[in-house]
């Protein structure tokens, strides 16, 4: 029986774990957090179908059917390749000897405090898109005072496509997430005014354009092309935004009750310390470098180490699943050869 260690029990890790265990391999699923399910488990509903994130994660867990050994709350401390096998030392001095490794370490969300000018952590009514999902889950979308917001603004590209924070890449999912969240706010509070401050809207995938259309026609969400320059706070703890409507060519001042920062994806920080141990490397954007961007997208430069999911760059959930299934079949082929 061949064995495999999957690092990261997000949706990519869970999906690959169930595929590989079904093939009869011994799968160790290593997760640094206590809970499995990664970022998706923290989300309320998912674009484009508004399916509950919890259901997606539950389906994955059900598919896995306890066939894999889940090692939650543990991190890889050390890794060494010995005669075509990998020896892993996990926290708590647990040792594993496996035939192959699948890296599914995913991404970190951008730390919004780094854009101090947007006031996250300074002004009480500035939250991130991830915070908003938590509020949706708790059915408690309100301002700090407990009152429902009368005016909400979403800022796109916070920590993405921003040279100043060292991230040139697009995080792909934030545009459509902002559209989704804007519509959800309008569903909750039809009288609330909702604004989206964007650079350009990247509605690239199936149904996205429909969502954008519906946001305008059905929900009357306002879209303003212009980046937020700075946010301030007035005496009532409302957030005062300074921006420019670049289509109208005019400076704009906007006072909102709630400001939502669409934080982007960054390469997983704890992954970086693993790079040298696994013999893999990060690209200039911080995400892992694949053997070939077209034909060997799941291969690392180390024989026996594979990649799946957002550790090789931002992906939507369907893309992540496709990537995880591809990786699982490649890993299987590797183990059978």
């Amino acid at each position: 029986m061949k064995s495999i260690a999957i690092i990261g029990a997000g949706i990519a890790g869970l999906s690959a774990a169930s595929d590989l265990s079904k093939k009869g391999h011994k799968v160790y699923l290593i997760e640094k957090n206590v809970e499995i399910g990664g970022h998706v488990a923290q989300w309320d509903r998912l674009f484009p179908s508004q399916k509950e994130a919890k259901i997606v994660v539950d389906e994955l867990v059900k598919n896995l059917n306890n066939r894999a050994e889940v090692l939650a709350n543990s991190e890889v401390q050390h890794c060494e390749k010995k005669d075509n096998k990998f020896e892993l030392i996990l926290t708590g001095n647990k040792n594993l000897l496996v035939d192959t490794i699948l890296v599914t370490t995913g991404f970190d969300t951008f730390r919004a405090q780094r854009k101090e000018e947007y006031g996250y952590g300074i002004y009480e009514n500035v939250i991130t898109s991830a915070d908003l999902e938590q509020l949706f889950k708790k059915h408690n979308v309100v301002c700090k005072t407990g009152n429902p917001p009368k005016r909400v603004a979403f800022v796109h590209c916070v920590g993405s496509r921003d040279e100043k924070v060292g991230n040139r890449h697009c995080s792909k999912v934030c545009c459509v997430t902002a559209v989704k969240q804007a519509c959800e706010i309008k569903e909750l509070y039809p009288d609330c005014e909702v604004y989206n401050l964007y650079m350009d809207l990247r509605m690239f995938d199936r149904h996205f354009e429909d969502m954008y259309h519906e946001a305008q026609s059905k929900y009357h969400v306002n879209f303003i092309r212009g980046r937020l320059s700075e946010a301030g706070e007035n005496k009532d703890h409302q957030v005062v935004l300074k921006t420019e409507d670049t289509l109208a060519g005019k400076p704009l001042k906007l006072t909102v009750d709630l400001l939502v920062l669409m934080i982007g994806m960054e390469a997983c920080h704890s992954q970086k310390s693993l790079n040298a141990k696994l013999g893999v490397r990060s690209d200039t954007d911080g995400f892992l470098s694949t053997k070939d961007i077209f034909t060997q997208n799941n291969f690392s430069n180390t024989d026996g180490v594979f990649f799946a999911g957002t550790c090789t760059g931002p992906k939507t959930i369907p893309e992540t699943f496709a990537d995880a299934r591809a990786a699982a079949s490649l890993v299987n082929a590797y183990l059978m050869s």
Binding site: R114, E116, E117, I122, E163, K164, G166, E230, A231, G232
Partner: protein, 606 residues
């Protein structure tokens, strides 16, 4: 002492004499051109300076800097000794040579080559043979210069022994000049040694001469060693002719530069004459290379001050523009420069030239209706607080300042709470002098209307500009100074904490405005202030200066990370600064908690 030859001329003096005539003519023409290029009021300043007692101060400075190289001694003793040996040693040789002629052959003073080739034309008589005072002094001085030469050669191989990690590469013109310079003294030494049996010498030349004599008696065949005098003369001639085309132009221009600077002349327009003298005063010693973080951290060697002046000298304006617009204007180079070349001022002119091709009347709207919401009303408050646009991007600082001002009980107005226009310095640093002036005029009008007594700002960039370039009817303080004043007068009180704090001096506040002590006093009252190797004048640039429009963010990031690394070697709890740009730069690195000193004070108010 008597003349050895009836003839006071020998053809070998020609190379030297031609070189001398050339360089004196060049100097005369250059001087006229430089003075002509000065604006009229600068000409007057120069004239006034020359005919005042202050000229003695300039003379003293020329002696201390051009000859003794005092500032280089401060950096490194070996390096100082090397430069002084060449400059002061050679100067002594010239003076002593002329004294010899003055005393022993005064009728030959009109022959410029006589003091230089003294031991060819003159000989000692029996009565003074072996150790005449002047021969001894001349030998001693020559030995001094030769020791400097030895160090210079050694430096080419082991520059670390001279406290330098990097130095300049020699181009062909410099190579010829350096080779000529390096040959002058050994050739003189050889010539005088060979002739010591004929004309006499002292411990050095006579000593070595007697060894030569042991091999062969040259006294009978003087003709065999005559070519050494030729070589010596040619080396001098080549050096003089190469002077204007090499790094050694500074020997001629630096004294003039010192006089002009002391006369109060500044480079305000490109090609004003002063700027030319300044560029030519750069000796390409390379001392500015190590302090420049663009060179040491960001690998942009072409942007170093030394290479910028070179681009200007060679009329490579494209490269000069590139260097100027990647420079962060932290002034670490000017701080280190032994000559005091202020490249920041020169760079502003370079940028000005480029920018003004494209911009016209950008800020016209200030006096129209669009600028109407910038109306400031007179009020009775004594203190006005101007956060500055960069501080609006680090709101934690402005909130901290509001809290402190409120706690002090002082009546104040936050004048740019709702918005403001730029102080103008970033615009000026980008080269748009005219636009900066428009902004300055409007701001001056707004501030003066308030009739306040004190203007407090949180931004060192605004502070420097308000303080130095504005004409305001109030005193201007950076918030670190104002907080220090409040603490001293007991207007606010803070709880001391055990937090280990390192303070980073922002370039604009420290090196460029001279405010070093107040921030430290404030931090000492609220935490455990640790010192670093980069305190005060040695402060690093954070990488986020507004001056470098063409510097890519990735390069800036490398510089910020390097600076944080260097500042946090003692693992402080907080890296404190007093500038929004520095704060942003350091926070980005994610290595240590970064705070403005106002935040630390506000958190610990009693």
């Amino acid at each position: 002492m008597q003349e050895r030859l009836a003839n006071s001329f020998d053809p070998f003096v020609l190379p030297y004499t031609i070189g001398l005539v050339f360089i004196l003519t060049y100097l005369f023409i250059a001087l006229i051109r430089v003075v002509k290029a000065l604006p009229n009021d600068d000409k007057l300043k120069l004239l006034k300076h020359i005919f005042s007692l202050k000229i003695f101060k300039s003379g003293w400075e020329i002696f201390m800097e051009c000859l003794l190289h005092r500032k280089i001694w401060k950096k490194n003793w070996t390096l100082g000794y090397m430069h002084t040996a060449f400059a002061f040693g050679w100067f002594l040789l010239i003076i002593l040579g002329h004294l010899e002629v003055q005393i022993y052959a005064p009728h030959r003073l009109n022959l410029p080559w006589y003091p230089i080739f003294f031991r060819y034309f003159m000989m000692e008589t029996q009565s003074t043979m072996q150790g005449a005072f002047f021969f001894f002094m001349m030998d001693l001085t020559l030995l001094y210069v030769l020791s400097g030469l030895g160090l210079a050669i050694f430096k080419r191989f082991r520059r670390k022994a001279f406290g330098m990690k990097r130095t300049t590469k020699l181009r062909w013109n410099d190579q010829i000049a350096v080779l000529a310079l390096w040959s002058i003294f050994p050739l003189r030494f050889l010539a005088e040694s060979f002739y010591s049996e004929i004309s006499g010498g002292s411990f050095l030349t006579a000593g070595v001469g007697s060894i030569f004599h042991w091999f062969y008696d040259f006294t009978a065949n003087e003709i065999y060693v005559r070519p050494i005098w030729w070589a010596y003369s040619i080396a001098l001639g080549v050096f003089f002719i190469m002077l204007p085309w090499s790094r050694f132009t500074h020997i001629l221009s630096e004294p003039l530069f010192i006089i002009m600077r002391n006369a109060g002349i500044r480079e305000e327009h490109r090609n004003s004459g002063y700027g030319k003298v300044e560029i030519y005063s750069c000796s390409r010693c390379g001392i500015c290379l190590d302090p420049c973080q663009l060179v040491s951290v960001a690998s942009l060697r072409d942007s170093a001050a030394i290479n910028y002046t070179r681009h200007l000298r060679l009329w490579k304006s494209e490269k000069a523009h590139q260097a100027a617009s990647t420079c962060l204007m932290c002034n670490r180079c000017t701080q280190a420069c032994p000559v005091g070349v202020d490249t920041a001022a020169l760079k502003l002119n370079t940028k000005h030239e480029l920018v003004n091709l494209h911009t016209t009347d950008q800020y016209n709207y200030l006096n129209t209706n669009a600028g109407a919401d910038l109306q400031s009303v007179p009020s009775s408050v004594d203190v006005i607080y101007f956060a500055g646009c960069m501080t609006h991007l680090t709101p934690a600082t402005k909130l901290a300042m509001t809290k402190i001002l409120e706690a002090s009980g002082e009546q104040f107005r936050f004048i740019d709470e709702e918005g403001s226009i730029c102080c103008g310095r970033p615009v000026l640093l980008a080269g748009a002098r005219k636009s900066a002036n428009e902004l300055m005029e409007k701001n001056t009008e707004l501030f003066n209307q308030t009739h306040a007594k004190t203007l407090v700002t949180s931004c060192p960039i605004c502070y420097k500009f308000f303080k130095e370039n504005y004409d305001l009817n109030m005193r201007v303080l950076h918030h670190s100074q104002y907080i220090q004043e409040l603490l001293k007068e007991g207007e606010i009180k803070v709880n001391p904490t055990a937090a280990k704090i390192v303070f980073h001096d922002p370039c604009e506040l420290g090196r460029n405005s001279g405010v070093y002590d107040e921030p430290r006093e404030v931090l000492k009252s609220v935490g455990q202030l640790q010192s670093t190797a980069y305190d005060g004048e040695e402060s690093l640039c954070c990488g986020h200066s507004l001056a470098a429009e063409a510097l890519p963010y990735r390069k800036r990031r490398v510089m910020s990370e390097d600076a944080v690394e260097k500042l946090t070697t003692n693992n402080p709890d907080i890296l404190a600064t007093a500038c929004p740009a520095c704060k942003k730069a350091f926070s980005e690195t994610n290595k240590v908690e970064v705070k403005d000193l106002a935040e630390i004070v506000a958190e610990n108010l009693v």
